[in-house]
Amino acid sequence: MDETVVDLSRLQFAITAFYHFLFVPLTLGLAFILAIMESVYVMTGKQIYKDMVKFWGKLFGINFALGVTTGLTMEFQFGTNWAYYSHYVGDVFGAPLAIEGLMAFFLESTFIGLFFFGWDRLSKLQHLIVTWLVAIGSNLSALWILIANGWMQNPVGAEFNYETMRMEMNSFSELIFNPVAQVKFVHTVSAGYVTGAMFVLAISAYFMLNKRDLPFARRSFAIAASFGLASILSVIVLGDESGYELGDVQRTKLAVIEAEWDTHEAPAAFTLVGIPNEDSMQTDYAIRIPYALGLVATRSVDEEVTGIKDLIVEHEGRIRNGMTAYGLLQALKSGETDTQTINRFEAVKADLGYGLLLKKYTNEVVDASEEQIKQAARDTIPSVAPMFWTFRIMVGLGFLMLFLIGASFYYASKHVAEHQTWLLKSLIFALPAPWIACEMGWFVAEFGRQPWSIGEVLPTAMSVSSRSATDLWMSLSAFIVFYSGLLVVEFYLMIRFAKSGPSCLKTGRYHFEQNATDQAGSHPQHSPA
């Protein structure tokens, strides 16, 4: 197995997913904000709300285009770069992806066309329904993708079949109602809603600071602040920590995030900050909050959180079991399919994946040396420092946004938001925060899953396609060049249209279309077509 190919395949997947995830959260959140604005328009009949839907819809469209572009890759990349993964788990993992297409993506994509082009062809109510269907469609998409992803973290409802050499579904309902998938869904879409809210808040704040189109900015600001407050509370309160006691991957992830080297007596303390030290397996200069971790992770005061050292010992035992399972699988494959062999295999096959971990170190899994077993067990723990820090950045940004959105809500409800210069400036400055938090969260979830592509079932190192390193270098570079180029264009258009504000709708009602010269502090500019 070529380790370079494994690393490059991971990097390519990470980069393409990273790019895709720059656009998805905003789509998720802004879609609902548009639906809310249009509902207000239909209920009140006030033109300004229709203009808001159109203006924010324009920015939505600019973002959505790249979401679609980068999303195309995701549907096919399992096949191109993760061929063995695709064969090994397609029976289970493919189902939610296909259902996503049929149930959600069609809905979203068909109605997005009517959203943009149907203003004069649909009744008010029809158009409103279309907008809601776009929002629902994009969120259903997220649901199925996170069901697929949740299964990678906690593969329930499936079993290995030695005849076909793959995992096969034995319970569709367990797959759908996987608790890890459920908490992930709520947490992820809420993060998307926060992104949408922060986006509208920051741009409205910009208009307010420039004293432009105030009625438009105020209304947008108020809707985003209310929607954002509910969302940020949901993200924080319904964080996905509650899913961290489910399955070995999640337990390991939790220990790593907290740099919990030893199993402490319940309830565990939460390490606020510190310097995780991989060599000595301890966290230097740690500041701990008693009880907090136990409460958050286990929702109790008497369950303990297993530490990294104990997890390694546990994993080593399972690797040894896995070697037995692999040996029996070889026997089965060579035709020894007597009942006794089958029964013995069935008894240990839950640990087959742990046996496969050894494939990274030796082709002869059953003859692995003690040293290789120890190494494989040690490598079941993802690097601590990156996990420790990305998690804390995510949480820190979450609380920062809670504060900013809370303040926005407070001042908006008192109708004085436009005078809080400090808040408006902070909102603009904090615009990247939701994206950084989303990407960090995604990193914690997926980097923390290593060394598995499917937790306890299939190691990442075994999942790749048999392409050459040259292929990977070329495709990786091509993705980076294409995506970055398109991202620059997207930024250019986004900034241009956001700055021009509702004047870009050319309705004649907004700032730059009226006498731009008598507005202090603004610089006339061409509004784009």
Binding site: V68, L72, N81, D91, S109, E163, E168
Partner: protein, 378 residues
């Protein structure tokens, strides 16, 4: 329902998704690959873009869903085909990248340079996938150089350039002209004046080329290319891997199905007739009938390829035993059953709201519509 029926149903369903893709997104690709060919002015090019504007995104989902369905129903096909045809698939994807951004960004800025660049990129986004899909299909008849081992790991030994054999290139051209025809016929429904005249001319030319290419490919397949056939007994209800059968290669074997099941001859026959009626209705200015004919031709040509290959999906040129067939690439009976139920519920729903969206957006696009709504239109 037994496993054998489910295997056949999924072969049909994936065919339906591919046909859905070619019939709907096919005209999007056709229209934008003609952007610089028959769109002489900026207004004309905007008319063409807005003709497919409300629909291309929904249409593209047929492609994405077909990808997801192959993953779910034929996991090993998804694995072997996409990892093996790595560069061909990436070429398609990179070309398709230009469409969402091209449509959305092109008319947002008024300079000639900006729009011209996007027009070229959109042309690439239409023509390249159409061509590569055909080349890939052509290679299925020739067999692809891949192996499988006991663990079902696959190794592909060919390069991208080896895909460009004369027969495969002919299939690529048929695919390109077919979708160009379909796009040009669609434009007859949505345009008027000089543009519709040019669209008609292009439809006639493309239909003629498709007819010629399709016929040559058929003859070539009959006399010049060896086909594959399963020689061991296959129990459709059995759990199989691709290694559990024997396969032979023989002359004219790709046409064997037409002898065994003569009804399948309807596919190539309908394709030829529909290509002729497309030309006839185009000449008579019956745009609606031309579009129905062209859709039948597209569906018929894909069915012809599918019927000829059946039960093969992806033959191996290294050792025919590795070949992937309808019987041995499928997911478990349970997954196929569940996914069939999902498809049975959602495909009709998708079709009905898609139809509603076409109904709502029906009608000719004129330059004055675009001038009246500069901001809202592509």
């Amino acid at each position: 329902m037994d496993y054998e029926s489910l295997k056949l149903i999924w072969w049909v369903l994936i065919g339906v998704l591919l046909i859905g893709f070619a019939v709907t997104d096919g005209f999007d690709m056709g229209v934008i690959s003609l952007l610089k060919v028959i769109g002489k002015t900026d207004d004309e090019r905007r008319i063409m873009l807005n003709a497919v504007g409300p629909h291309w995104d929904g249409n593209q989902v047929w492609f994405i869903t077909a990808g997801g369905a192959i993953f779910a129903a034929w996991p090993i096909v998804y694995a072997v085909a996409f990892s093996g045809l790595y560069w061909a698939l990436l070429l398609v994807l990179f070309a398709l990248f230009f469409r969402p951004v091209g449509f959305e960004y092109r008319s947002k800025i008024e300079t000639h340079r900006w729009r011209n660049i996007w027009d070229w990129l959109l042309t690439v986004g239409g023509a390249v996938p159409a061509l590569v899909f055909g080349i890939a299909f052509g290679n299925l008849f020739l067999g692809l150089p891949f192996t499988l081992n006991e663990l079902m790991q696959t190794q592909y030994t060919g390069s991208f350039w080896q895909l460009l054999s004369p027969f495969a290139l002919l299939c690529g051209v048929v695919s390109l002209t077919m979708l160009t025809m379909h796009g040009a016929v669609f434009l007859q429904l949505k345009t008027e004046d000089e543009l519709v005249v040019r669209a008609r001319g292009m439809a006639l030319l493309a239909a003629f080329l498709t007819l010629t290419g399709f016929t040559i490919a058929g003859v070539w397949l009959a006399f010049g290319i060896d086909g594959y056939t399963i020689t061991s007994l296959v129990d459709g209800n059995a759990v199989m891997t691709p290694l559990d059968k024997r396969v032979a290669i023989g002359e004219s074997q790709w046409l064997a199905n037409y002898e065994v099941y003569p009804l399948t001859l309807l596919a190539p026959a309908l394709s030829l007739i529909a290509l002729l009626t497309t030309m006839y209705f185009t000449l008579k200015h019956y745009a609606g009938r031309a579009f129905i004919s062209s859709s039948i031709a597209v569906a018929g040509i894909i069915c012809t390829a599918g019927f000829s290959l059946f039960p093969f999906i992806m033959p191996s040129s290294i050792d025919p035993v590795f070949s992937l067939t309808v019987w041995d690439v499928v997911s478990s009976e349970k997954t196929l059953g569940i996914m069939f139920a999902v498809a049975a519920i959602f495909v009709p729903i998708v079709l009905s709201y898609t139809a509603w969206s076409y109904y709502k957006m029906w009608g000719v696009i004129r330059a004055k519509d675009i001038h009246a709504n500069q901001v809202g239109m592509y």
